[in-house]
């Protein structure tokens, strides 16, 4: 009964022509059918173990395609551990992981992974580095060994280091040409100030100052079993998975003192106004942002739902407003980004020059509205179901499951959060959404970054304050 009412409420809002107010959904021939009965949301079953050296191992056996997925997450090894002279260092460190090991050179590593029908490579995040590997099921053991080999014994060959630096410098030049890269750099700096979360992109001097020695030292400090989680998922039994993990990582020892925990990120910032020059740009790349909260904060669940409602998909408020109603942009989004010790609220769109000011006005209108008016019941329901559906959809992908578990761990969420998330979202009230929105989406708290052509947009930006015009 409850289900039917709920479906009717949604359908009546969206398809008024198809539903007479007093008729049940199924009565009219040719009308849109109601949603069927929902199946229960499956709760993940995670087998957990801690090895003697402090390393955490989680196994999620699955019966899907013939593949195994591994994610080795190393907490505190990411951008937040980079000193101010080496912003973005973690990405170089991660990139060098599979460029040579105690046993193999980079080519041999690449060919070995290829022969297992998979790959092994590391990526960097604010709160950690994760080494991801996958292979066809029959190569589960071989890939586990290869993963341990590259993660534990990278050799950072001098020639590879030089090549990586040279390529990183060129890649930085290429990235600088994209408005998105510049916009992200500026909004992060505006939101986080001097905190390392605000400086995750490399600079030329940071790249130039990297040495083989620095890579070795930092690897030794950052990669340690007591700060590591290994997630194993796919066509592999629990006992077999634990056995492989023990064999590959059991004799790994933590050496020296652990790195300090990252200091909390700021919860407030002076809103900045920045116009990054891009002559002849035919669009403005806009970012609106302010400080948010850490992923483990009490308010994170309502804030996640508020983010979905405001800017999380085709049917989100900013997308409907700026894209479907106004035609200003190909896509608009907004919402919270959460890390281990802090977070950001960021909204953004690329819009044509003439509507740059108008787009900002609409952003702030939506930010204000969600912080002052209660979200209607049908919109709440739609977005809660959207979140639940997303959970089920990503559940199909074993690599995504492994990654989500590892990411959650890096940002300080317990493994149980996976299964709790949808039920928690379902409990959020419109009042809670309004409350967190008022707090975190307050227009007056937002910095504005525009990457565009000053000649075309400066006049439109005047109502939003004094913009500092700069190159970087």
């Amino acid at each position: 009964m409850k289900k039917l009412m709920l479906t009717l409420a949604i359908s009546m809002m969206f398809a008024p022509a198809a539903y007479a107010a007093d008729a049940p959904a199924t009565a009219k021939a040719g009308a849109m059918p109601a949603y069927g009965k929902d199946k229960p949301i499956p709760t993940p079953k995670i087998v957990k173990k801690t090895l003697a050296n402090g390393m955490t191992v989680w196994v999620v056996p699955r019966q899907g395609l013939p593949r195994v997925d591994y994610v080795l997450a190393v907490r505190g090894a990411g951008y937040a551990a980079d000193d101010s002279a080496h912003p973005g260092f973690a990405s170089l460190l991660a990139g060098m992981i599979n460029e040579g090991s105690a046993r193999r050179d980079s080519r041999a590593i690449a060919e070995a992974a290829q022969g297992m029908g998979g790959s092994v490579a590391a990526g960097s995040y604010s709160d950690g580095i994760s080494v991801q590997a996958n292979a066809v099921a029959s190569q589960a053991g071989a890939m586990m060994s290869l993963l341990a080999e590259v993660a534990r014994t990278p050799s950072f060959p001098a020639k590879e280091v030089e090549l990586a630096k040279a390529n990183a410098l060129q890649a930085l030049r290429a990235a600088e040409a994209t408005p998105r890269f510049r916009a992200e750099r500026a909004i992060n700096a505006a939101v986080y100030g001097e905190h390392p979360y605000g400086h995750t992109q490399p600079t030329e001097s940071a790249i130039n100052s990297v040495t083989q020695e620095l890579l070795r030292t930092e690897h030794a400090k950052r990669f340690r079993p007591d700060r590591a989680l290994l997630v194993i998922t796919g066509r592999i039994g629990e006992a077999e998975a634990m056995k492989l993990a023990q064999a590959a990582f059991g004799d790994w020892k933590a050496e020296g003192p652990a790195l300090a925990e990252t200091a909390p990120a700021p919860r407030a910032a002076n809103p900045a106004r920045i116009l990054l020059q891009r002559a002849n740009s035919v669009q403005s790349t806009i970012r609106v942002g302010g400080p948010g909260i850490q992923a483990s904060a009490d308010e994170q669940v309502p804030l996640r739902l508020a983010s979905t409602i405001l800017g999380g998909g085709f049917s989100s408020r900013v997308n409907i407003n700026l894209r479907e109603q106004k035609g200003y942009t190909y896509g608009a989004s907004a919402g919270a980004r959460m890390n281990r010790v802090g977070g950001a609220i960021v909204g953004g769109a690329d819009v044509r020059n003439e509507v740059t000011g108008a787009a900002l006005t609409e952003y702030f209108n939506e930010y204000k509205r969600i912080g002052s008016e209660l979200v209607p019941a049908d919109e709440m329901t739609m977005n809660k179901r959207y979140v639940a559906g997303g959970y089920l959809i990503s559940n199909q992908l074993q690599g995504a499951v492994a990654n989500t578990l590892a990411q959650n761990w890096l940002i300080g969420l317990p493994p149980e959060f996976l299964g709790q998330y949808v039920p928690l979202i379902q409990k959020v009230t419109p009042q809670q959404v309004r409350e967190v929105s008022k707090k975190y989406f307050a227009p007056e708290a937002q910095s504005i970054v525009v990457v565009g052509d000053p000649a075309a947009v400066s006049e439109q930006l005047k109502p939003f304050g004094e913009f500092k015009v700069s190159e970087k």
């Binding site: 969206f14 849109m32 199946k39 019966q63 395609l65 290429a174 066509r235 049917s315 907004a334």
Partner: protein, 477 residues
């Protein structure tokens, strides 16, 4: 392509599995494929998998950029956008909100030979999804407001992906304009603003009438549904839509190119030079097709590939290498298409050096073939990637619908692994020496504008248009 804005870190989650889906023995994986044709010509495919209580749905129409009207470049794609703008029964906004409220995601995209509409959602949304797809197959709400709105949105899409981006998609947009001879194959599928603005409601009506009937479409459903259920639902929602005459397509075939073509472009936004080299592919269904697919993987499939090891590592000339098979894959085309190598190269080198290095690597393959160990590695990765691409229900449904549309046989999905397995070293030698030859090659050298040498247009059949007009336009295509 519509867009899902992705500024936010994913909030996605999870874990748990119920039952084994497709049959999997060792590292092999076979998909069950059930096919039925309705009386109105709609082909329906169901592939069952109850490991997740969700479904993937794809409706593929056999029309793409090749068939759009001549003075309406970009129309097939603009039309794709209009398919989301509502119908008399489900006005604007209903489509997206019904999918969203059902917990689902949707998207669409336009390619040379087809246009696809895809959804994935909890299985409880399957009927509303099918109703919505059938509804917009029947009719659209043709009105000037939504047309204007989507003309604006598509123009923003082109700005964000082409005009405001360094390189402006030259490796997939511009390259075909130079490589192909026939208009159907060589025009800009994103379209000119002029043509897009010129699109009228009559154009929209005609395109929908001509190409969007059930007899020109394939519906595929993957996931938590049985074939019997899937076919019954397809009949329930689509069965009464009458077939409509489909205009006969022309002959789009072209032989291989006989003269190398080289174009230089200046890019006002790029800071690092880049190069795309494209060779015309064998026809779909040709005995060389699988060999080209394996050759492509051998040349540029990841860090172990010949070109990565040869250009990025060994000679240290390039920052990266990537390959494209048109805008789809080596298996999903139905007319002339390209195998394209894309690379960003170092300012300390030049296009000739890059091309010579590629030619050297290709020559080695032609001369010596591929050793057994390497071939085995390449095939193992390819087969694994093929399975990986079918993991999500949405791409599983979409792949089946595409293969049915292009090959007339969705079960090609289970044949491709065998075709890959069957490729020998001599097949690869033959493919390399037949297709990856200089005369069949089209090259665009795209440089930061300051690096452009004004007289440096090489090649015999290139009108200097590429060098004289494009540099001024920068990233515009």
């Amino acid at each position: 392509m519509r867009q899902l804005p992705v500024l936010l870190a994913g909030l996605s989650l999870s874990a748990a599995a119920l039952a084994a889906p497709a049959s999997a023995t060792g590292d092999k994986w076979d998909l069950p494929v059930a096919t039925k044709k309705l009386d109105n010509g709609l082909t329906v495919i169901v592939t069952e998998d109850h490991s997740s209580p969700t479904v993937g749905v794809s409706v593929v129409y056999h029309v793409g950029m090749r068939l759009e009207p001549k003075n309406r470049t970009g129309f097939a794609h603009l039309f794709e956008h209009l398919m989301f703008q509502g119908t008399p029964n489900a006005p604007k906004g209903v489509f997206d909100k019904t999918i969203t409220g059902g917990g689902g995601r949707n998207n669409g995209s336009t390619r040379a030979d087809f246009t696809n509409y895809i959804e994935t959602a909890p299985a409880s949304s399957l009927e509303p999804i099918l109703w919505l797809e059938a509804d917009r197959m029947k009719t659209l709400d043709f009105n000037k407001d939504t047309l204007k709105n989507q003309q604006d949105v598509v123009k923003e899409e082109i700005r964000v992906n082409v005009k405001n981006q360094p390189y402006g998609g030259f490796m997939w947009i511009d390259i075909g304009q130079h490589a192909f001879q026939k208009w159907e194959n060589n025009h800009d599928g994103y379209g000119s603003f002029e043509d897009l603005e010129g699109a009228s409601l009559d154009d929209v009506r005609a395109f929908h009438r001509d190409y969007y009937g059930p007899n020109n479409a394939v519906l595929a459903i993957a996931g938590d549904v049985t074939p019997a259920q899937g076919f019954a639902l397809a009949r329930k929602y689509f069965g009464a839509i009458p077939a409509r005459p489909v205009p006969k397509g022309g002959d789009f075939s072209e032989g291989l190119n006989k003269v190398e073509k080289r174009v230089q472009q200046g890019d006002a936004l790029a800071q690092v030079p880049a190069l795309a080299a494209a060779w015309k592919m064998p026809e779909r269904g040709s005995r060389d097709q699988a060999a080209m697919a394996v050759l492509g993987e051998l040349l540029a499939g990841g860090d172990a590939s010949v070109l990565y090891q040869g250009l990025v590592k060994g000679r240290e000339l390039a920052l990266n290498t990537d390959v494209l098979f048109g805008l789809t894959s080596p298996w999903e085309f139905d007319g002339p298409t390209l195998f394209t190598v894309y690379t960003m190269y170092k300012p300390t080198t030049n296009a000739d050096t890059i091309l010579n290095a590629m030619d050297e690597e290709i020559a080695k393959i032609v001369k010596d073939g591929v050793d057994a160990a390497t071939l085995k590695r390449v095939k193992t990765r390819m087969l694994a990637d093929w399975n990986n691409g079918l993991e999500s229900f949405i791409s599983r449904a979409d792949t089946l619908a595409r293969l049915q549309t292009l090959w007339g046989d969705a079960n090609v999905v289970n044949k491709i692994p065998g075709w890959i397995e069957g490729v020998t070293s001599s097949d690869i030698q033959r493919a390399a020496s037949t297709y990856l030859v200089k005369n069949n090659r089209t090259v665009i050298d795209r440089k930061p504008i300051a690096m452009v040498d004004k007289v440096d247009v090489i090649g015999t059949q290139t009108a200097p248009a590429g060098a004289q007009t494009k540099p001024l336009d920068g990233a515009r295509k």
